[in-house]
Symmetry: D2
Subunit: 461 residues, 4 copies
Amino acid sequence: MQEQQILKNTNAEILNQFNASLLFDKKLYAQDIKGSIAHSKMLALQGIISVDDQIKIETGLLKIKGEIESNQFVWKIEDEDIHMAIENRLGQIVGGAAGRLHTARSRNDQVATDFTLYVQDKTLDIKAKLKRLIEVLVVIASKHSDTLIPGMTHLQHAQPINFGFHMLAYANMFRRDFERFGSSYERNNYSPLGSAALAGTPHNIDRFKTAELLGFYAPTNCALDSSSNRDFALEILFNIATSMMHISRLSEELILWSSYEFGFVKMSDEYATTSSIMPQKKNPDVPELLRGKTGRVYGNLIGLLTVMKGLPLAYNKDTQEDKEGVFDSVETIEISLDILTAVMETLIINKENMEKACQIGHLSATDMADYLVKNKNIPFRTAYYITKEVVSYANSINKDVSQLDINELRKSCSELSSIEDEVLRYLDLRNSMNARDSFGGTSTAQTKVQIELFENWLSCN
Amino acid sequence: MQEQQILKNTNAEILNQFNASLLFDKKLYAQDIKGSIAHSKMLALQGIISVDDQIKIETGLLKIKGEIESNQFVWKIEDEDIHMAIENRLGQIVGGAAGRLHTARSRNDQVATDFTLYVQDKTLDIKAKLKRLIEVLVVIASKHSDTLIPGMTHLQHAQPINFGFHMLAYANMFRRDFERFGSSYERNNYSPLGSAALAGTPHNIDRFKTAELLGFYAPTNCALDSSSNRDFALEILFNIATSMMHISRLSEELILWSSYEFGFVKMSDEYATTSSIMPQKKNPDVPELLRGKTGRVYGNLIGLLTVMKGLPLAYNKDTQEDKEGVFDSVETIEISLDILTAVMETLIINKENMEKACQIGHLSATDMADYLVKNKNIPFRTAYYITKEVVSYANSINKDVSQLDINELRKSCSELSSIEDEVLRYLDLRNSMNARDSFGGTSTAQTKVQIELFENWLSCN
Amino acid sequence: MQEQQILKNTNAEILNQFNASLLFDKKLYAQDIKGSIAHSKMLALQGIISVDDQIKIETGLLKIKGEIESNQFVWKIEDEDIHMAIENRLGQIVGGAAGRLHTARSRNDQVATDFTLYVQDKTLDIKAKLKRLIEVLVVIASKHSDTLIPGMTHLQHAQPINFGFHMLAYANMFRRDFERFGSSYERNNYSPLGSAALAGTPHNIDRFKTAELLGFYAPTNCALDSSSNRDFALEILFNIATSMMHISRLSEELILWSSYEFGFVKMSDEYATTSSIMPQKKNPDVPELLRGKTGRVYGNLIGLLTVMKGLPLAYNKDTQEDKEGVFDSVETIEISLDILTAVMETLIINKENMEKACQIGHLSATDMADYLVKNKNIPFRTAYYITKEVVSYANSINKDVSQLDINELRKSCSELSSIEDEVLRYLDLRNSMNARDSFGGTSTAQTKVQIELFENWLSCN
Amino acid sequence: MQEQQILKNTNAEILNQFNASLLFDKKLYAQDIKGSIAHSKMLALQGIISVDDQIKIETGLLKIKGEIESNQFVWKIEDEDIHMAIENRLGQIVGGAAGRLHTARSRNDQVATDFTLYVQDKTLDIKAKLKRLIEVLVVIASKHSDTLIPGMTHLQHAQPINFGFHMLAYANMFRRDFERFGSSYERNNYSPLGSAALAGTPHNIDRFKTAELLGFYAPTNCALDSSSNRDFALEILFNIATSMMHISRLSEELILWSSYEFGFVKMSDEYATTSSIMPQKKNPDVPELLRGKTGRVYGNLIGLLTVMKGLPLAYNKDTQEDKEGVFDSVETIEISLDILTAVMETLIINKENMEKACQIGHLSATDMADYLVKNKNIPFRTAYYITKEVVSYANSINKDVSQLDINELRKSCSELSSIEDEVLRYLDLRNSMNARDSFGGTSTAQTKVQIELFENWLSCN
């Protein structure tokens, strides 16, 4: 029988551990306190609690905030969640007034409010970090708008582009991310506070007032929806997933470019692990880890989508599973953006190797064909046949077509036996790059136009 | 050796089947033709092709559109994709001019343009369908703003609400979806056309003109990004996933409400399968299938996220895997919204059962406690102790507290021996519902306010 | 310039935090120590290190184990991972010998070994917990093999079954899970130790010996594969996902059955939260949380699948992202199985309500039709027409067909005006249940057969 | 009113399209017919139907099979699913006997049986294809067990290995896949037929007989579980996902190796797309597409996991969503394995480039340090210091340490001024590779051992 008792105790402990969210939701302490202060102010303004009580409550909550931030707060698992932990402590500090704070509020709308505030706060943080990364990319772009690098498709050399232009591709991705976070911020900036358990409250509350105090645009419309809505959490999870996908693409390129085979960049010593015996060896650990972290944020997204599937209205305990994934994704993207920004800031760029690589793959062969068509009035098919001959000849003497001199060129194909020098201009790789001067194209001039557009955007956002 | 030959043929066939996208991407025929016409017009305006050629091209393309729509077009797997199928057919119809259409364009920006156009078209369709569903929900809400139904948490009766209010919870979800689709439409309404393979083009094109002709706001900024960007596809997949999640929640409730145990609603005969022998039995197949279809749209989202992870710039053949999932999710949400709208329009609502269910669970017990505190100046703890007694008494005579008469109430607890009749008002379920009159609350009055807000919104969107 | 310095420090700290795995991989301390002891023994047996060194190493490692388990071990983030933390501490304790432990081993095979050992250990734990849950379900089944409950399809009453049979359905699911875990255990019980970095080692090691010492069947075959293989981790993640899916189905039913509408079961007070004012209200928090936890384990599975996609051989830092998800899924399934077992053990089953529910839906109507066909030689179509009449009549007098007496039955349809009493046997719900006596069917007799099969299985596993 | 009518028709059509599964489940026709023949034989053996009827049914079913396979069968969407399509046609062919086929069977167990048979059939097909791929890899391995290639970690040169050994890493992955498919085949080879709707049947059937006739080991145990169990479908989806992940890793390497930068392999012309103008350019479309197809199979897995989450027992219409994902994953893995096998069979391997690449990164520097420790009794730290000097010297003269002659070596560091020639043996890359001779290591000898193990395995499986 004693054993039975022990079993029950154990079960009770396990159950407590199973049910409690305190260990993770204590991250919401600041939002919880902020929400409670706003609620108490509104209650006092509406005459539901006394001004005196409001002052006690606010003072007590600020004291608790101080205790938490100075690590003096005593966390007890029996409190189950951050809300009870703060409420119970408030009771110790201010006595009866603490009880009045919960008037016209339920755990359901309190949780929804705290979590929305957290997501909104973090959305702004992430936007700031994305902006900082974009700034760094634009700075690199402006330094390298004339640095040749092979533009790839299928990981095969395709056309010569400039490295600045390549960086702008990522700047554009992160700018879309920035805007996506901005858009979800706008769409979700409404206050669930006052929705109560699921149906509103008989008390004469002013939800517009608490919304205003908390920086929301307005209260949400429907209490039943508000108490179990987690769209805002799904949106931040998706936005983070998309952003990490972009980070994974840049990471992949950094890893490739750091290989002996490419040799385009080196991580600065801080961001690469080295081998004690081979000082020249540098492992691109950081971009590998960034690429790997894509997994967890995808997982967190699918996790919450799974939780929400098929849940009847309104609050169900399943929803307690909404927070850890969001916390994890938020912390992952924040550190990832910081680290990536630092990596890019300190990246050592090997221009020589980049330019040398452009001389593989006859990247300007197409330009010569275009020249023949446009300037020599040679029919398309003939021009391409001629170019094929030239490529073939270049291969036979182990040169890239861009490296042929005018004599070699004249020898390469009978139709070119008296070709003028000007054709060499078209075979030149930098000219080839600069020829692509359409809006959004890779020419140095266009790249500079795009940089300016970004600089304007940065100064406005 | 002949066997070898056979093997090779087989391999070639398998390979063709493996590589070809024609079987699914032919859905893009209208967008491909639209894009090509716009491109040809711009080429003519810029003097890159002749006006005569442009007319031939446009006429030819419209002819092909007619052939496809009247099922006269001959699909050949060797064409590999919709773009080649149309291009080759155009060659047959207009000869040499067809070849000039591809000037200053590559497969990469053509695919990106077609697919963006498709996603934008479908986004508008889905918005229209969401709006129609919201309209139906609002109509139900206005008919049932006084129909009592137990508001649930944890699938347990919690507070009496009205059924109209319950419908508005879903209307709010679908409205957020509508806005989310609207926001991704805005963010992605830029034209990749003219990005060419990855770096722009040497031709003197006017990307603003093609953007305008295709209904885009402007051209995209960076060719390298544009040719491999699939953010717009991820966004529609996520938006659909979130929307299907909402549909799965309503479906879950329809299934529950259709059970013998709940008995709140019946599907109309069209939308339920019946048993030949038991005419009263109706299986809620439609909401079950709707709930089940959540799986595929979640899968499509994770599918494309997986494809895009870690892809180096720019175009990689992996990206060919972007379309089928989007087509499937789009078709799933479109038919799901149509069907759900029809189901809701024809739903048979059993008010009596809903109201009867409210009499289980002492839903107004809290209201009585509130009454004692507010009107009788009884301390909170005492009031709750009294209420507990009343609930206990009610249980003992198999009644809900809302069903007690004044004598029973007086008998239930010594402190209530001389309680006035007015307490009965607070025990009344409808009064309890109407008491929750805060903004977004369940009272009939507030429900009507919310309906009006929706009617305004519907007339503006 | 000082600011620059500060920034660098901060970056270094952030980087450390980003790279380090110590905070989570310290869970592997026991496996790491076990692996190192086995490795040292083999090295000594092969004469690669001295017996004296081996003894020092082993003693030192056991001391460290003691320190960790008594919370005396000092964790330092600079150690980066559990392997370095132990290695560095070993150096402090035994000096030079510590360095010799790492002979013929690299971090890559050490991590793979530790992680495999962890997964194998946990697989056995999970199997034991599944078995215990099955035991509890079989006990319930044996108590309730005669308790009627409506068997449902589409959440609609379909046929009368017994509650024990219903429990056995879940026992079968968990048994398949047990076997699936068993099968992955067998398939993955091979030792990667000695694979070294990726290519094996020039030292004369005996991998069969370390495999034996660690409880593995044999060493793995290919060093290059072994150092980056994570199939075993994916398998446990999938097995857990499938198991949690089964748990989510049982949880869904517990939630439904706990509702007022169903009223089939109650959670014991320990496993349900109650409301202070309404003692009869019990929220099924535990099954809701169990159902919700399905999300995170699905997410962890997709997370690791994403990490592994497209990784070139051999070790890449991405793989560091393999552990947290596995730890989380393992801990989730372990506590979930414990809690679910306790919930089922203490579940209060309301037989009366279950049996009463069977009287809704004319569950034995089909049995009557069958009787007419088999015993009265009435053609199929006629029999069904008659039954439809009977159902219709029963509805008209608000009875279930199982409740009709012989007079009512004779009145219900002209063809039955002189039907014998024996038909009533076929309308009886318990008889209807017992009629389904095919192998695996619901009859009490078959249920008992199945229970016996389970008891045999339990005694053999 | 006429409009109303039209709307209803349209709704009916949409609904039909929404509910019907015929368009995709017709893939199960062979399994459905096989199952029905077995069922009819058992019914006849048990005396439930006449032998005459059985013969009619079997003949009719075989005729239908012929019609389907010769494209003469008329598919009608109104039949809704493959089972009704065949049943209705059977009625046309054999009249009344067709109706008796459905005795003691329901749609639920029929679907479960057909789908299980399909999954089992395909599991065997996939195993055969995996085996064929392994064979090809082992053949390559035996040709290249002496071909040097740089073994990589972090995509950085780490140690010299042989290309055969590298191929065996993949052979091991696919072998684990083979075994995983084999294990799920075993675990799921039980017949649900005779489970009927959910509870078994009152008919005197012999489920062991139908199990035997269908190649199953035995009937399943519990009808309620069997009618909604989809574990077998989840298992094949997971097995395929893991297998595609392995394929994506090999594909990634093929893409890398095909780049100009690596230049290790070329796809044969059949499996690479070429550019008309640049004959040397080959895009690795096939491995890119293989890598991309990982997305859809991950998506299909998460899709079905989502469908099954939280489904109450027994059959729910949600489960209709189980098939398309499985069909898609099965077809994807089958064609992927065929294509990959053909690609590997015809792969052009550039040994020279592979070996040349080994001369970058001082891959044998560690071997020299080991030599100094082991043969010269130089303390570890000193040996490493010396090696660092040598590497540094080699860098200064643009050589790899493996390329140094004895004079250069003696000059590189004062401690080596009189080093013997034998050190050169340790710097030799091939020797370095062959030194790693532990079980599972990269030496040519060990690689041959492993090849033999594979050949044995292949001849036994």
